[in-house]
């Protein structure tokens, strides 16, 4: 079965345009024929494959994209050289040709942004949703797709679309810009960072008495050729990424990683006579920094996720003894909730002890070391931690000591544990504030209220617990 047309249009679009461009320019010859042959082979592969991964792997194995691009480059270059031969050496003509190419480049950059903005403004989320559902329906039963009949099980395609439309309309009423990215595109794509250096080059070329070789020499001496590489835009991108990372940092390593990249940029720029970092040195330096921080981020994540499991074990085990446990998740989702509740009661302590053993084995950390570890403080500081301080202390002081394999939770702990749930004391009351630094940063870049017009703000916390006071948390030392 062939690949879905929605996929093939995306995969082949650029190459189809290359072939058509060459056809429109009346190109011919060996490389044109070869390019057409390769493109036809690509189309054939989209018809013979039904799995996009297998298609991509075969294209990669046969180097088809590289070969098409090679033919295309040779064809354009040959045409340019032919045009040059017709004109012969003419300094003024060469200079003019170069400046015209630069003017075209400015136009292309500006047109491309305008096109992206237009596309963003014309984006129709209803149509996109319907196209996605049509695609999913056509590809049911295929590898990576929904199970055959999945959509019919929900009442059929029209039913699913109608329900989706209702949800979409409600969403757009609450957040009109939920699917709009025009402000982000307009703000982030600063064409002047690319076009201003090009304009400077054009001005140079237009100076009275300018010759082509003088123009080429002066642009090197003044670094105008390097300025055109867009390094200012690169720096702006790095500043933006650092800002986003600082607003919601997964770890101190994430912040330090982006900071070091920006420092590298500035150091290389300051060492350069023309204040533009060498792009090779910048690229290699960024790779070194990422390479250094990757294992640190991995270790941080591993330690954090293991103590999260430990705390969850204590949370769910103690909750399973509450009289209402069969009526709440996760147990109410089972066919036999009561049976599921008892299973948790009987097995979770054994599971908890194995988790504790592995945590000690791999990282030399015991249960109480969790709260002294930098990963824990980080989660509290940035309001990521799910549990309130008083609930955490309850788990540490009351539940942990009695979470012993083959033993039940002492009955006297059931009322306070139930109260923690019923009185909404379990959750960190600041979970509705975690996102605020990101909202503030995002709005500082894209305009006041922009975040709120696109994304759902968290509901006000229903927790009645006190906010975390790290200074008074007795288990941090």
């Amino acid at each position: 079965m062939p690949l879905d047309p929605m996929m093939t249009d995306a995969l082949l679009g650029a190459f189809k345009n290359m072939v058509q461009e060459c056809r429109d320019k009346n190109m011919s010859g060996e490389y044109f024929d070869r390019m057409c042959e390769l493109y036809n082979h690509l189309e054939e592969l989209t018809r013979t494959h039904d799995d996009v991964m297998a298609f991509n792997m075969q294209v990669m194995k046969e180097d088809i994209y590289v070969k098409i691009s090679d033919c295309y480059s040779r064809l354009l270059s040959a045409q340019a050289q032919e045009q040059q031969k017709e004109v012969g050496y003419d300094d003024a003509a060469l200079l003019k040709q170069n400046l015209n190419a630069l003017r075209d480049a400015i136009k292309r950059i500006e047109d491309e942004k305008a096109r992206a903005l237009q596309e963003a403004r014309n984006y129709d989320p209803q149509k996109a949703m319907n196209d996605t559902l049509d695609f999913a329906y056509r590809n049911e039963g295929k590898k990576g797709g929904l199970k055959k009949g999945a959509i019919d099980n929900y009442g059929g395609l029209d039913q699913v679309k109608n329900a989706g439309e209702k949800d979409l309309n409600a969403e757009l009423k609450a957040r009109p810009n939920a699917y709009s990215n025009d402000v982000e595109i307009d703000t982030l794509i600063r064409t002047e960072l690319y076009t201003k250096p090009i304009e400077d080059l054009i001005k140079l070329g237009e100076e009275p008495g300018m010759t082509y070789p003088k123009y080429l020499r002066i642009q090197i001496e003044k670094g105008l050729d390097k300025a055109m590489e867009g390094s200012v835009a690169v720096r702006e991108g790095m500043v933006f990424l650092l800002g986003m990372t600082e607003a919601l940092p997964a770890s101190p390593h994430h912040i330090e990683c982006e900071k070091q990249k920006l420092e590298l940029f500035d150091r290389l720029a300051s060492e350069s006579k023309i204040h533009v970092p060498n792009s090779d040195e910048l690229g290699f330096g960024i790779r070194r920094i990422d390479h250094h921080f990757e294992p640190l981020k991995t270790e941080w994540y591993e330690i954090k996720s293991r103590w999260e499991d430990l705390i969850y074990d204590l949370y769910i085990w103690s909750l399973s003894y509450c009289p209402f446990a069969p009526q709440i998740q996760p147990w109410c989702l089972y066919d036999n909730p009561q049976e599921a509740v008892i299973r948790t009661q009987k097995t979770q302590p054994g599971i908890f002890k194995q988790h504790e053993k592995l945590f000690q084995k791999y990282f030399g950390l015991g249960f109480f070391d969790i709260f002294k570890h930098p990963t824990y403080e980080w989660e509290v500081r940035y309001k990521y931690i799910g549990e309130s301080q008083e609930f955490t202390e309850f788990l540490i002081e009351k539940i942990y000591p009695v979470c012993i394999p083959l033993q039940d939770l002492p009955s006297e702990l059931i009322p306070p544990r139930s109260a923690m749930f019923k009185d909404n004391k379990e959750m960190n009351p600041d979970l509705d504030k975690t996102i605020l630094p990101m909202v503030e940063y995002y709005n500082s870049v894209f305009g006041e209220g922009r975040w709120q017009s696109k994304y759902q703000m968290p509901e006000k916390s229903k927790s009645t617990a006190a906010v975390w006071n790290w200074g008074e948390f007795k288990y941090k030392n």
Partner: protein, 218 residues
């Protein structure tokens, strides 16, 4: 009125000078210097076409060599031999080329070949993903629970063992689309480029590898 010949001589001199003080661009400096000297030796502009020969092409080859020497050095510094093989192959072949397009094509082909080799090498990191499943197998197998739940726990352990085998099978099917002879080799995970991403001690890695290979029958 401008003296075009003089303008070109000055241009080529400045062009060569770009790389003069940068040890990372030694080949480019030499090639640009040769190009500049060819221009400096002209007494008329028209002579340059004959003196130019393939010096321009040699500048492109020289820059390719310099960039790939830097790439090779970084890969060696970071102990990434699979990635280092790409610039090594490019450097071995670069001097054979006289036409720039052929050179660019070769570089692109080597980069794509390299991407395939990196994918095949890094696919072995499914072991890292399966580490969590090995821990769950150990947890469920060894958790102290009432006798009535032991079979249940063994079933959970079996589920994760089956998942490991499924993941390996799926990965092998995918990677064989690139290389029909590809077989998952988890021992490779002890090589530095993979090992650095496992935040565990060597003895723990050996222990997990042994369990993994038993489950996967490798």
């Amino acid at each position: 009125m401008s003296d075009l010949l003089q303008d070109y001589k000055e241009y080529y001199a400045v062009r060569a000078g770009r790389y003069a003080e940068n040890p990372n661009y030694r080949n480019s400096f030499e090639a640009e210097k040769n190009l500049s000297e060819a221009m400096q030796s002209c007494s008329e502009l028209g002579e340059f076409k004959d003196r130019l020969g393939n010096l321009n092409q040699l500048c492109a080859i020289a820059l390719t060599k310099d960039k790939n020497l830097m790439e090779k050095a970084v890969c060696e510094e970071l102990k990434e031999p699979i990635r280092a093989a790409i610039p090594e192959r490019i450097l071995e072949k670069a001097d054979q080329y006289t036409e720039v397009f052929d050179l660019i094509n070769m570089v692109n082909e080597e980069n794509t070949r390299g991407m395939r080799e990196i994918s095949l090498d890094e696919a072995n990191r499914i072991f890292n993903y399966c580490w969590m499943m090995l821990d769950r197998i150990e947890t469920y197998s060894q958790a102290v629970v009432p006798a009535a739940y032991q079979a249940d726990m063994q079933n959970s352990a079996k589920y994760y063992a089956d998942r490991i085998r499924e993941i390996i099978k799926e990965t092998e099917e995918q990677m064989r689309l690139l290389d029909p002879a590809w077989k998952h080799n988890p021992d490779i995970i002890k090589e530095y480029r993979h090992r650095r991403l496992l935040p565990y001690r060597d003895e723990h890695i050996d222990e997990q590898l042994s369990k993994y290979k038993t489950i996967a029958n490798i």
